[in-house]
């Protein structure tokens, strides 16, 4: 399952739908990314821009590779775009596997590739104005460990 959408989602409902009816699965890992706002640097919103056609294609390719590489039973990715307020979930990745290590590795792999290869761009909206979030070199490093 891949969902690219500007609609809010419920992390728990998504998790429950994902992990039911798989008696061969022993482990599910869920990663949820949320909008942060720190006391010393509060933001009013996070605005996500997206190239939806490319996001759909790239995420589908990353998902297929992850399922094959870690022998996952299933994997699902949901990513929002548009204007999100602090504490709101931005995205969720879920993996289902026979055992825990494959589920963890699959989820980390998906996250590392999504960070660098999924066409989303974040803008932080604060009292002082709106600023693009800079890409982190550490995200490239995290992705490259899987090569």
């Amino acid at each position: 399952m891949i969902i690219i959408s500007d609609a809010p989602f419920d992390p728990g409902t998504l998790l429950n739908q994902f992990q039911t009816n798989h008696p061969e699965a022993g482990a599910a890992v869920t990663f949820t990314g949320m909008v942060r706002s720190l006391p010393d640097r509060p933001i009013t919103a996070l605005i996500l821009e997206c190239y939806p056609d490319l996001a759909q294609n790239e995420i589908a390719a990353i998902r297929t590779t992850a399922i094959a590489r870690f022998d996952l039973i299933d994997a699902a990715i949901l990513h929002r775009y548009g204007r999100l307020v602090p504490d709101e979930p931005i995205m969720q990745v879920m993996t289902l596997a026979p055992h825990r290590q494959a589920a963890f590795d699959g989820a980390q792999y998906l996250m590392d590739y999504l960070k660098t290869d999924a066409p989303f761009w974040k803008q932080e909206e604060a009292a002082a104005g709106t600023e693009w979030v800079e890409a982190k070199a550490s995200d490239d490093t995290a992705r490259d460990r899987w090569r």
């Binding site: 990314g33 996500l48 821009e49 997206c50 190239y51 056609d53 490319l54 759909q56 294609n57 790239e58 990513h79 931005i90 995205m91 996250m111 999504l114 960070k115 660098t116 290869d117 999924a118 066409p119 989303f120 761009w121 974040k122 803008q123 693009w132 979030v133 800079e134 890409a135 995200d139």
Partner: protein, 83 residues
Amino acid sequence: MKILYFAWLRERLNRASDDVTPPADVVTLEDLVTWLRANDESLDLAMANPKQFKISKNARIVPWNTPIDGAEEVAILPPMTGG
């Protein structure tokens, strides 16, 4: 051919896309970007560090040396910050 710009690149150019018809000697996507930059000073400045961008052809990320080969939609992608 449609060229798409995203995020701060889109903002710097003040537009989200262009419609262009490159000459016959523009063969790869790298040639295409060189040709676009030669014809647009703001794009040239914004792409001063070209290595940081990725490029897509018909909604798939591809290497810079990929032939244009009748592409309908090419996008120039600043470093991504999703997830």
